[in-house]
């Protein structure tokens, strides 16, 4: 089913999404990948606060190319999510409602998605030029020294994603290939 969803992601919207839904996301989303996750995780371990609010927000696993002059951002597709698996359950337990990336997740992440009524979306990997057109504003809000890996606040319009793991724990990667196997 095709859906249009505005971020931040409400509990109600998150729970209404089903694995296989094609969704256009609009609103505010935050980028974070390997180094930013490591730093946020360490901040929590040290009892410090996070630089961005987790509650009902969605994180996009993205490290963009630099913006050309006059452009908002450079190429901006998803990176492989599995490298964030170590950190994701903790962020989900703090209220993170959704993640946009690509590729498989561990059972620990799936369990945390179910426990918190959250969603894991996949964007099309390797379509960074196309996806960049959906980003209308981009500002670094934390960890500027990390360059491409800094946390950015993005304003997006109709970013196309697919629900891979829904709040009930259904995993599209586990079922989709079976259907097409010869």
């Amino acid at each position: 089913m095709d859906r249009k969803i505005t971020l931040p992601l409400t509990d109600e919207d998150a729970r209404s999404l089903r694995a296989g839904d094609y969704v256009y996301l609009s609103g505010v989303i935050y980028t974070a990948r390997d180094a930013a996750h490591k730093r946020m995780y360490e901040a929590l371990e040290n009892g410090e606060s996070l630089p961005i609010e987790m509650q009902n927000n969605v994180v996009y696993y993205l490290g963009p190319t630099p913006a050309r002059p006059g452009h908002v951002i450079g190429s901006a597709g998803p990176t492989t999510s599995s490298r964030m698996d170590k950190y994701a359950p903790k962020l989900l337990d703090l209220g993170l409602k959704g993640m946009v990336g690509k590729g498989k997740r561990t059972q620990e992440v799936i369990d945390a998605v179910v426990r918190n009524g959250a969603v894991y979306f996949a964007a099309v990997g390797g379509a960074g030029a196309l996806l960049s057109k959906c980003i209308k504003k981009a500002d670094v809000v934390a960890y500027d020294d990390l360059g491409t890996e800094a946390i950015r606040r993005l304003e997006i319009e109709n970013l196309p994603v697919i629900v891979v793991i829904d709040s009930e724990g259904t995993n599209l990667y586990a079922t989709a290939a079976e259907q097409w196997k010869k």
Partner: protein, 280 residues
């Protein structure tokens, strides 16, 4: 003896870095365009359509095809009658990468040390493979490699008794495990033979081949066709979300090996299989 100024190498590498990250070679464009027609899954067709549109936007608006503009892998063939002048060749190559990635607004994805992980901020150094060949030419092949797919690549040290069936099993195992992480539809480079490191270099080199051509060795060409068919029966499909087009091409390179061994390397590349060649 022919003299080549290293500045020419720098300028050439710079231009190659920018070009290859915005425009795929015509063989890759043909394969992706064909894939849209072949795919049976509606979602798979939609994803492939996005990838074709993405290629057009990248080329016309100069936005890199993928945000992972890779680590620069360079194969340089140097004629033995060439003399380089004006500085160190390796420095000249890295200067080309530095300028290309900076001037071309490409992502700097290289860290100085694998454990300490401080970004070098200019995407250097490149990984450079040199070979000395007859003549007085210089041929540079650049293949920037993204790590979503690089991380899913494997080396298998098989026993000779496992033979060609063992090779097939190794390739299918690597592709199935890679799944959605490697951004299918993939291009699969396979190196068979040599030593531990030689088979990995062969697999990387296989990825720089024209994806519309098969090996000139008949049994290897048959192996490439059979592997592609088997991979496209796995059902992974575009984005790993189900469908026929799990791989666009399989390229296999072979080399003599030891009586006791059968090394096999599987270097997986996503659909953004970038390769470009220039001769100086």
């Amino acid at each position: 003896m022919r003299t080549v100024q290293v500045q020419t190498v720098t300028d050439t590498v710079r231009e190659m870095c920018i070009s290859v990250n915005h425009q795929l070679s015509s063989d890759m464009v043909c394969k992706l365009t064909e894939a849209v027609k072949i795919e049976e899954s509606p979602l798979g067709k939609q994803i492939l359509g996005q990838l074709v549109e993405n290629m057009d936007i990248a080329k016309t608006e100069m936005i890199p095809i993928c945000q992972d503009t890779g680590m620069a892998v360079i194969f340089i063939e140097i004629g033995q009658d060439v003399h380089f002048e004006g500085g160190n060749l390796e420095d000249a190559i890295n200067e080309g990468v530095r300028r290309g990635y900076t001037d071309g607004y490409l992502r700097k994805s290289v860290v100085r040390d694998p454990i300490e992980r401080e970004n070098t901020k200019d995407n250097t150094p490149a990984v450079i493979h040199y070979s000395i060949v007859p003549g007085d030419g210089v041929k540079i092949t650049l293949a920037p490699k993204g790590f979503g797919s690089e991380n899913m690549s494997r080396v298998f040290m098989l026993k000779p008794a496992q033979g060609i069936e063992g090779v097939k099993e190794a390739v299918l195992t690597a592709v199935a495990e890679a799944g959605p992480n490697a951004c299918p539809p993939m291009v699969v480079g396979v190196g068979v033979g040599g030593t531990f490191e030689k088979c990995a270099i062969l697999a990387k080199k296989a990825l720089t081949r024209n994806v519309q051509e098969h090996s000139s060795i008949p049994y290897v060409a048959d192996l490439e066709k059979e592997l592609l068919e088997k991979i496209n029966s796995l059902g992974l499909g575009p984005g790993g979300l189900g469908g026929r087009m799990t791989a666009l091409a399989v390229s296999v390179e072979t080399y003599p090996t030891h009586i006791a061994g059968l090394p096999v390397a599987v270097n997986i590349c996503c659909h953004v299989n970038r390769h470009i060649v220039r001769e100086i």
